[in-house]
Structure formats: structure tokens, C-alpha cells
């Protein structure tokens, strides 16, 4: 893959009067990427196809000398793709700053314009003729390919006002009005594609307002509160239209075939709005040795644009709608303690804790739940009145006597599968805690950060695969056995302990029975990770001065994810991995997850590369 970005960023500033500034900034970004995917060609020998055999005594009774021989050659493939992205951004601001007595005022009026255009083209062939020549002309059959074009535009006007009273009372108010092409159609009312939003924030530094309360115990206290209404145009591009794409594999030669698209858009789609409020405080105690930061927040999202499953009997599989309302809430606290300071040796440590929960308050008329991601046997769901996303899987049939025993078939001794999907828990962590520390001695520095996340569950499809292949440790008992903790439900409704041995414990118990009970592969998803550890050395300034080229230099050895501790039932993988792709470590913490961004969370498959430990050396030179 090659990337060729170009950036043009030209801020122009001019001051008309001492209190008035104009800023004009044009940004242009051009991005182009090309790539190539290939599959090698492989042709089996005639011997492999027709004559290979398993010599005695390794073949099983009844198989004769037969063998399941190779029958299909691998034809190879090539796909070449390229894409260009062009982003144009214009920002114009008028800044007004003037003090009235003790109040410092600052007002920004602005206009922004955004346009993004992309063009992606791919061509390929699913069969190549001469091995190792990966050019689409070296092919058999038809050329595959496609093109996707997109363009979107957004226009915004905004005002941002800040009043600062003696630096201890700061008030901020902002207002923004956006217009977006993504919701625009000539016949749609203007409030369907334009939307105002606003916010207010206040912060108050009590120790500056009332210096009397400042002492040896309390050095600094700040309180803050804010309230925002936010809006965004999160809708799949061109999501307002029902499409009529080419039918599967069409065109066949000159025969054209089209199909009615499967995603039906609600004609009244509107941008989503999010109302959030937060209060918090920041305190420094005991000669600034202790720092405390606490906050609590709630966030209500109304009309999030989301694709929901509708019954296929409607003729469509999905409906693009504004969902009712979801709510996130939680609190965060951080405590930082300076253990040693002032001398050659400094050392601080901090602990963090945050709690986040969410709930679906309202969905859509007539719909109480829908699936958003996963498999038919294990999937994530949004359910009215519950936290989201919720994991549902099939599982064991449990004895009705509440003993927790699982029911087995009285004849075969195999556990019975409950085919209806049941809730297994939320897939987003409720609790996040961190521990970090930093030490410095002269030019040496040492830091590390631990993190814990928990309160959620995960499903690992790898568990199914490892049961199938027999590589999972849980399958090691292949001797005749009675299925553990099992019972039989008698026809009269009574439950008796099961004494029937499973019919065949070598293979069928595991592959045909245990593997299909998805509950087996649902595990707690908590983990503790040593996210990073870093040892650095900064070259003394006296040496730097002599070089006359460098003004600073440092070298650091670092490691990431060196330690990961997970639940003892979690044989599978890092709970932060999901089939939606591998997140950057910690990235899920940076924003409050939405029903859209969390589709695949909590479900991992064999499609993800396993988590890796990283070690490295960083050399930093400053000129």
C-alpha cells in the first residue's frame, strides 16, 4: 500500500483594530492510496488428485485404501485498487476581545465550509493463468471490478462567547448552526437538513474567589458545570434513498438484472441530537501534593440514525430510522499523589476510576428489540429498557428445579441445547480503573500504567473452532463419561440425576453437542493490562550544547501490553478485540460508545490477529 498525502494549510491573520482579529484558513488535503491483493496459484499433481492413499495400518476400518483426495486447484487471484480523497476545508473567524472593567470578554464569530470527495476503483480477476504474474490481463474469464464515488458538503456558522471575571469565574456560551448535504433533498423541509445546537459552561475557582479558604490543607479548588445540546449528521452517505443495485452477479453477458434494495429509509430521517450535562471539580491538597479530579455526567441521545432489522416478510431486511432515545451516565475520579518532589528524585502515582452505564429508553414504535451484530447463535442486541449492547446466545436447557443442573437426552446422554437466545450480559465495560506512576532521577525517567476494565461479557467464536478441532483444553476428557452436573427431565416433570454415559465421548460429544452450545464460550470480559512501561534517559544539556546541531536528545526503551491478565475461563483472546476490527488500545475510552459504534464489540472470531506485545526503542533528537 502506498499513500501520498498532500496538505495545504494557509492561515491568514489580520488585526483590524486592537480588539478585532480576522482569521481565514483554507485547508486542502489530497490523499491517494493504492493497493494490491493477490492469491497464489496452486495446481495439485495428478497423483494427489487420483492416486494418493493412506497406507495401512493408518486408515480406519471401512475406509479401504480410499482417501479424501485433493480435487480442486487454487486458481489464484489478483485485485488492484486505488482511491483518492479530496478534502476542502475553509474556516473564517472574527475574534473580538475587549475588557469591560474586571470582565474580560471574548467573542468568536465564524463560518466553516467542508467538502469531501472520494473515488475508489478496484479491478481484479479470480483466476490467473501464469503463476506469479499478478496483472489483471493475465487471467481467465471476466474482469471483476467496481467503483464507488462519494461527495458530501457541510456548511456551518457559529458564535462562541467567553466572559472571564477576575480569572475565577469563567462563563462560556456557544451556538452553532449547521447545514448538511447528507440530509438534503430539494423537496425536504429545511429543518430536516439544517440544525442548531448550543452549549453553556461555567467554571468557578473557589480558592481564588475566597482566598481565605486557601490554607495548608486546601490549596486549590475549582468547580465546573456544563450543558450541551449537540447534533450531527451521522447517516450513511446517500442513506435517504432506496436503491436498486445490480442483482447478484449481474450483468450476465448482455442480460441486465436489478433488484430492489434491502435497506428501506424512513422518509422522515432527521439528524441526531445529543443532550449532555456534566459537573465536576478539581482540588489540590496538602501543599499541592495531592490532586483530585471528579466528575459526573449524563448524556441522552435522541433520534440516533441506525439501521434496524425489520421482519423480512416486509420485503426488506433493514430499516434506516431515528431510534428513540438512549442514555449514558457515569462518573470519573482521579487521584494523583506526589510522593517525592523538589529534589533530584521525583515520583508521583495516580489512580483512576470511572463507571459508565447506559440504557435504551425508547426504540421505535412497535419494536422492543433488534439485533445489531454477530452470529445467529450469539449476537449483540439493543433492547428497550436494558443496557446496550446486550449479548444473547443459545445455551443449555436447565433443570426446572433451579439446581443449576443441565438437562441431557435420556437416551444419548448428550446435553440438550436451548435454541432460544437468552441474555448473557452487557458487552461494554462498566468499570474502568487505572494505576500509573512516574519516577525521575536526574536524567533518567521511568513510567508505567496499569488498567482494569470489567463488568461485561464476551463471546469467542474461537471456542467453537477449538472444540471442533479438539485443540481446546476443555475437550481433553475423551473417555466414557457422564456429562458433568447433568440431570434428566422425566415425562412426569420430575428431575433425576443423570447416570447415562454420553453415547460417544471421543468426538460427537464435543463436535456435535458441546460446540453448538454457545453459552460455553461466553466468558467474563474483564482484564488487567500493563498498558505501557517506559524507561528513558535524557542526554545532559552540556553535551548537547557542544554538538551545536541538536538542542536536546533522549533515548527510551518501552514496552506495551507486556502483561495481560484475564478471567480464568477466558482461554481465547484479549477482550478488547472484536470482529469489527482491532481497536487501538484504549480507543474505546475516548468516546462514549453509541449503538452504531459498538456493533461488533464483545464478539471475537478467528478473523482477528491475536494481540501482540510490543517492545521498542525511541530515540528523540531536537534540532
Amino acid at each position: 500500500m502506498a499513500r501520498l498525502p498532500t496538505f495545504i494549510n494557509s492561515p491568514t491573520r489580520s488585526k483590524a483594530t486592537p480588539w478585532l482579529t480576522f482569521t481565514e484558513r483554507v485547508g486542502i488535503l489530497n490523499n491517494s492510496r493504492t493497493g494490491k491483493n493477490t492469491t497464489g496459484k496452486f495446481t495439485y499433481t495428478d497423483w494427489a488428485k487420483t492416486k494418493s492413499f493412506v497406507p495401512a495400518p493408518f486408515f480406519r476400518d471401512g475406509d479401504g485404501t480410499g482417501i479424501y483426495r485433493a480435487i480442486t486447484d487454487i486458481t489464484g487471484s489478483v485485485l488492484d485498487y486505488s482511491g483518492t480523497e479530496n478534502v476542502l476545508n475553509n474556516e473564517f473567524q472574527i475574534q473580538l476581545a475587549k475588557d469591560f472593567g474586571p470582565v474580560a470578554n471574548r467573542l468568536i464569530l465564524g463560518n466553516s465550509l467542508y467538502q469531501r470527495t472520494t473515488n475508489s476503483i478496484g479491478i481484479g480477476s479470480s483466476s490467473i493463468v501464469v503463476p506469479d504474474v499478478y496483472n489483471v490481463s493475465n487471467r481467465q474469464g471476466i474482469l471483476n471490478g467496481g467503483q464507488i464515488l462519494t461527495q458530501e458538503r457541510r456548511l456551518g456558522y457559529y458564535a462562541d462567547y467567553t466572559a472571564n471575571y477576575k480569572n475565577w469565574l469563567i462563563l462560556n456560551g456557544s451556538f452553532r448552526f449547521d447545514q448538511t448535504s447528507k440530509f438534503y433533498k430539494p423537496d425536504r423541509p429545511s429543518n430536516y437538513w439544517s440544525y442548531p445546537y448550543y452549549g453553556v459552561a461555567v467554571s468557578f475557582i473557589a480558592t481564588d474567589a475566597f482566598p481565605a479558604i486557601r490554607g495548608n490543607v486546601l490549596n486549590y479548588a475549582k468547580f465546573r458545570a456544563n450543558y450541551n445540546k449537540n447534533a450531527n449528521d451521522n447517516i450513511p452517505l446517500y442513506g435517504l434513498d432506496l436503491n436498486y443495485p445490480n442483482g447478484g452477479s449481474f450483468p450476465y453477458g448482455n442480460t441486465v438484472g436489478l433488484t430492489v434494495g434491502n435497506v428501506l429509509p424512513d422518509p422522515n430521517l432527521r439528524p441526531e441530537t445529543v443532550y449532555s450535562s456534566e459537573i465536576g471539580g478539581e482540588f489540590q491538597l496538602l501543599n499541592n501534593r495531592i490532586n483530585i479530579d471528579v466528575s459526573a455526567y449524563t448524556q441522552n441521545s435522541k433520534g440516533q440514525v441506525i439501521t434496524v432489522r425489520v421482519p423480512n416478510s416486509t420485503g426488506f431486511s433493514s430499516l434506516l430510522i431515528n431510534v428513540g432515545e438512549t442514555k449514558n451516565w457515569g462518573y470519573e475520579a482521579e487521584l494523583k499523589y506526589l510522593i517525592a518532589r523538589g529534589g533530584k528524585f521525583t515520583w508521583d502515582a495516580s489512580i483512576r476510576y470511572s463507571y459508565n452505564d447506559n440504557k435504551v429508553l425508547d426504540l421505535y414504535p412497535g419494536i422492543n428489540e433488534f439485533q445489531i451484530g454477530g452470529f445467529s447463535y450469539a449476537n449483540t442486541n439493543v433492547i428497550k429498557g436494558e443496557r446496550f449492547p446486550i449479548m444473547k446466545t443459545d445455551g443449555y436447557q436447565k433443570a426446572p428445579d433451579e439446581s443449576g443442573r443441565v438437562l441431557v437426552n435420556a437416551t444419548t446422554g448428550y446435553p440438550l441445547r436451548n435454541t432460544s437466545l437468552e441474555q448473557r450480559g452487557g458487552v461494554l465495560p462498566r468499570h474502568i480503573a487505572g494505576l500509573g506512576s512516574k519516577m525521575e532521577y536526574g536524567n533518567f525517567g521511568f513510567t508505567f500504567n496499569f488498567e482494569y476494565r470489567g463488568g461485561n461479557v464476551m463471546f469467542s467464536d474461537l471456542g467453537r473452532q477449538m472444540t471442533f478441532t479438539g485443540t481446546g483444553k476443555w475437550t481433553e476428557n475423551r473417555t466414557p463419561q457422564v456429562f458433568p452436573n447433568s440431570a434428566v427431565l422425566n415425562t412426569d416433570g420430575t428431575v433425576t440425576a443423570n447416570t447415562t454415559q454420553v453415547r460417544e465421548a471421543e468426538y460427537s460429544l464435543w463436535v456435535d453437542n458441546y460446540r453448538l452450545i454457545s453459552e460455553n464460550f461466553v466468558t467474563p470480559a474483564w482484564f488487567i493490562k500493563l498498558r505501557d512501561i517506559n524507561l528513558s534517559y535524557r542526554l545532559p544539556q552540556s553535551i548537547m550544547d557542544k554538538t551545536k546541531i541538536f538542542s536536546g536528545a533522549s533515548i527510551a526503551v518501552y514496552g506495551r501490553n507486556l502483561i495481560t491478565i484475564v478471567d480464568k475461563m477466558n482461554y481465547y483472546t484479549d477482550p478488547e478485540f472484536s470482529y469489527q476490527g482491532n481497536p487501538t488500545p484504549g480507543s474505546q475510552a475516548t468516546s462514549v460508545p453509541t449503538t452504531n459504534s459498538s456493533i461488533g464489540i464483545g464478539i471475537n472470531t478467528t478473523g482477528q490477529t491475536p494481540p501482540v506485545r510490543q517492545y521498542g526503542v525511541n530515540i528523540n533528537l531536537t534540532f
Binding site: A16, D63, S126, Y238, G248, T259, S313, T314, F370
Partner: protein
């Protein structure tokens, strides 16, 4: 300084007011996909999708395949891990979701029906209604009660109610009546016949197909108490209508003018179990295997002519001599696999699906959705059960012609069929057969092999014939799947209406026409 300020102020004016906002934002038309479609293109794709939904292709299993298995005609080759859902009957509402694909396909037919008049393509209404009727019939046979009147209405009805299965069947007969009226009134015009992948615009044949489908639905209900008068009236109406039935040829989708020697554009059956576009054998070629019961039954009746067309000899097709087995085509070289066997019958030692379905290079045969043989056996049963219906021929004539048609479609010499007359072989020779209805059922079962799995399974459920052995994986002798669960996709999104159907036990909740 002053000058620069001026330039910026001018720029603001330009951006803020100078350009028309609406014009600036009016770029929200999808440049990648069409915003509307001509119904004939939708109809063409719908037909092809029907073929792949029923046949499956290299991308997945079709509904017919399950039918072949559960009618005891095919089983799975060893050398693959046994598919427990199919051969141990361990399946859930997450397995066999044909529902979603069928309704998606039906939506395309509905679009053609709804938009035919406005687009000046009235001739599409009839054919689309016939196909709609066939797909709904298959849905009933798989699921029982289904959404019909409320279905396919998009956002207007987001939770379609389920209709009683018997009422759906009755509605489908009426829908076919409507289709016949439409067909007779609106012949294909211009070159639009090319959009019809089945009969190339021949409306008479569409009417015959509609009549044949009616026979299928009527005879299916023949064991239901109190239906006799209704069935007879409807059969007599078909005879009065006068266009007759599909005779001497099959109803097939596609063909040489349509399928292309390109990836994804082959006959779907060929694509799934035969060969890919470059002629390389599919890995799944070793998967479907004619059952031991099928192979041995044919051998026992001396029916080796059809056996050699239904199956290849062990070790399969000779790729240098397509359509012919590698080994000598003598009865001893044809070995079936016991239904549900998971070991002991490796692909190389057993027979595979034969040249009536798969011949290397024959990628462009039409995909058959109804055979002439099936129609003849339907007529035979109708005449045998209701001697007073106005069908012109005797049950014996229909029966014997059914066997001839079966030989013909399989590619066997039809002289072999005639030879059974007077042969005294049970269920082959009409006169010698002690139970005529059984003879019809058993011959029909053979004739549906390789072509109409769904029909074979439905007819097995209705008639309990032939007496096919239980899967060797299943300990209970009489446990047979009688229907499917409603798929979890529907159960999760149409909760109230699915729940209203009560508890579904696929081993005991019978369909309305499955009375014993």
C-alpha cells in the same frame, strides 16, 4: 493591512451570502446505484434469484438441497464432518433460514407486479404472480402459517401478521387465477421476451405452468378431511380453462442464452457441486451422495437405466470424457451411502450425483424448477383419487407417461420406461401394483430425485412413502423433521406475530396437509 482586511471581508460575503446554499448542498444523489428501476430488469433478476435460492450455488445452500436429504434421496459424503443440523436433526431457529432470501426475492416480484402498469409492462404481471404463488407455496411447505396478506408492504406494515396456512394455499389458487387472466390479456411486446428467463415471453406456457402449480397445491391437500369437493371443483376449473399443463418439457430458469462461462454466472447447481468457470472441480463435488436406499431400490427393481443417469459410478465422472463415469458403468460399480453415515463411505468409494445434473462443461443448462414427470404423477393421483374429475386420460395413462417423462428428463432411453408395462414389477407396472396410490408416490419420489428436493420432502411428509431408513445418527426410529422453525431473524423482529404461532416443535407440529 487595510487591503488584506478588505479581501477577507469580501471572501466572507462570498461564502456567507454569495452562493446559493441549496444549490451548494444539492449533491445528495447516489452516484453509485440507481434510484429507480424498470420492472423488466427487476423481473429478470428475480427469476435468477429464485433459481439460486432453490438450487444454492458456490456461495451457499439452497432450499432444494435440504429437501433431497430429508426425502432420503441424498446424503452427505464422508470425508466431511457430518452436518449435524441436517443428519442428526439438531437444528435451531438459526439454521436453514430460507425465509429471508425467499421474501427478499418475493419483494422483487411484488415490485414488478406493482409497477408493471405504470411502466407500460403489463405483460410482467402474470408471470410475476405465477412465480410469487410458487414461492409462497414453498414457504408454506417449509413453515406452515406465514405472513401473506400483510407481507411485502415495506414500512406500511412493519410487523406483518401471519395467515393461516390453509387460507394461504386458497389465496394462491386465486392468485394463479388472476395470473392466468393477466397472462391471456397481456402478451409480451417488443423484445421484452428476453427478460423472461423461463419461457422467453411465451404466455401460453406460463398459463400451463400456472395450471401445473395449481395441481401441485390441490393434490397436496388431498388427505385433508373435507377438502374433496373443493379440490374436484378446482381441478375441473383447470380442465375447463383449457390451456392444459406443462407437457414433455420442464420449467427451467436460464439456459444457454443466459448463463455465461464466468465466475458467478454458471447454472447454480453446476456452480455448487460441479465445476467452476475455469472447469476446475468444485470441492463440494464430493458432498452430496445418492443414498444407499435410492441406489439399492433402483437396482432391486432393475431400474439401472435411471440409476446410471441419477448417479455416477464410484470414483466419479471422467473429466476427459464428460458425462461418463471413470469406472465401467455396470450396476456393481454404483454404491450408495447410507443416510446420515459419517464414516466408512469415503467419496472415492461411493457414487456421486450423476450426469442428469452434472456434466463437465454443461454450465448453461436451464435450472429446472418443475418437471413434466411431476405433473403427470399429479394428474395420475388426481384421476386415481377422484375418478369423476374431467381430466381426459386414465390414471394408468398418466402414471405410465410419468415414468416415460422421468426417463426423458434424466436422459435415459425412454424405451426402458415402456418396458415396465406388463413387467409385473411392483410400483412400476400399473396393473401389477397392489396399491395404486403407493405406486404413484414411489414413482414420483424417484422422478423428483436430483430435480425437486423440496417437492420430494413435502410429498414424503404427506404420503410417508417410500419407507426410507432413518438417519444412522438418530436413535429415535420415528423422529423426522416435519417443518422448520421460524428463523430467528423473523422471531427477533416480528416478536408478537411469531409468538402468536405458539410453540413450534419441528418433530410434532405438522403442517395442515400432513395428516398422518
Amino acid at each position: 493591512m487595510k487591503f488584506k482586511t478588505l479581501i477577507i471581508a469580501a471572501f466572507v460575503a462570498l461564502v456567507g451570502n454569495g452562493c446559493n446554499t441549496k444549490q451548494f448542498l444539492d449533491i445528495n444523489t447516489n452516484p453509485n446505484q440507481l434510484p429507480t428501476a424498470s420492472p423488466n430488469y427487476i423481473f429478470t433478476n428475480a427469476l435468477n434469484t429464485t433459481a439460486t435460492n432453490i438450487a444454492g450455488n458456490s456461495g451457499g445452500q439452497g432450499s432444494n438441497e435440504l429437501g433431497f436429504y430429508w426425502a432420503g434421496q441424498w446424503t452427505q459424503g464422508n470425508g466431511y464432518i457430518i452436518v449435524t443440523s441436517q443428519f442428526v436433526y439438531q437444528f435451531t431457529n438459526g439454521d436453514f433460514n430460507y425465509w429471508d432470501g425467499y421474501y427478499d426475492n418475493l419483494q422483487d416480484y411484488q415490485f414488478a407486479i406493482n409497477n408493471a402498469d405504470a411502466s407500460g409492462q403489463k405483460f410482467l404481471k402474470g408471470p410475476a404472480k405465477v412465480m410469487k404463488a410458487m414461492l409462497f407455496q414453498q414457504l408454506v411447505d417449509l413453515y406452515g402459517n406465514i405472513p401473506y396478506t400483510d407481507a411485502l408492504q415495506g414500512a406500511a406494515i412493519l410487523a406483518p401478521k401471519f395467515d393461516d396456512q390453509k387460507a394461504v394455499y386458497e389465496s394462491l389458487i386465486k392468485l394463479l387465477d388472476e395470473a392466468i387472466v393477466d397472462l391471456k390479456a397481456n402478451p409480451f411486446t417488443g423484445s421484452f421476451g428476453t427478460s423472461d428467463l423461463v419461457f422467453k415471453g411465451n404466455v401460453t406456457k406460463w398459463v400451463q405452468f400456472a395450471n401445473s402449480l395449481k395441481m401441485r397445491m390441490l393434490i397436496r391437500q388431498s388427505k385433508v378431511t373435507g377438502r374433496e369437493a373443493y379440490i374436484k371443483t378446482e381441478i375441473n376449473k383447470i380442465v375447463t380453462e383449457g390451456s392444459g399443463f406443462i407437457t414433455g418439457e420442464e420449467v427451467g430458469i436460464g439456459g444457454p442464452a443466459f448463463f455465461q462461462p464466468a465466475a458467478g454466472q454458471l447454472n447454480p447447481v453446476y456452480d455448487r457441486w460441479g465445476y467452476d468457470a475455469t472447469g476446475a472441480k468444485r470441492a463440494l463435488n464430493n458432498f452430496p451422495r445418492p443414498t444407499q436406499f435410492l441406489v439399492n431400490s433402483l437396482k432391486a427393481s432393475g431400474d439401472t437405466l435411471r440409476l446410471k443417469r441419477i448417479a455416477y459410478a464410484t470414483d466419479g465422472e471422467n473429466s476427459n470424457n464428460p458425462g461418463v463415469s471413470k469406472k465401467a458403468e455396470v450396476a456393481a460399480n454404483y454404491v450408495g451411502t447410507p443416510f446420515g453415515a459419517s464414516s466408512g463411505y469415503l467419496p472415492a468409494n461411493t457414487s456421486s450425483v450423476g450426469p442428469s445434473l452434472l456434466v463437465k462443461g454443461d454450465f448453461n443448462r436451464p435450472y429446472i424448477i418443475m418437471t413434466a414427470a411431476e405433473v403427470q404423477f399429479l394428474l395420475a393421483e388426481a384421476k386415481q383419487r377422484y375418478s369423476d374429475v374431467t381430466l381426459p386420460n386414465t390414471a394408468q395413462m398418466y402414471f405410465e407417461n410419468g415414468i416415460v417423462q422421468s426417463f426423458r428428463v434424466l436422459g435415459a432411453n425412454t424405451a426402458g420406461a415402456t418396458a415396465y408395462k406388463g413387467s409385473s414389477i411392483q410400483n412400476y407396472d400399473w396393473v401389477a401394483s397392489t396399491d395404486k396410490l403407493s405406486a404413484i408416490a414411489i414413482q414420483k419420489w424417484i422422478a423428483l430425485t436430483n430435480f425437486s428436493g423440496l417437492e420430494a420432502w413435502a410429498e414424503y411428509r404427506r404420503t410417508n412413502l417410500p419407507v426410507i431408513p432413518q438417519s444412522v445418527q438418530v436413535p429415535e426410529a420415528n423422529k423426522r423433521p416435519l417443518r422448520l422453525f421460524y428463523p430467528n431473524s423473523e422471531a427477533g423482529s416480528n416478536v408478537a406475530n411469531v409468538t402468536a404461532q405458539g410453540t413450534i416443535d419441528p418433530f410434532s407440529t405438522k403442517l395442515f396437509w400432513d395428516v398422518d
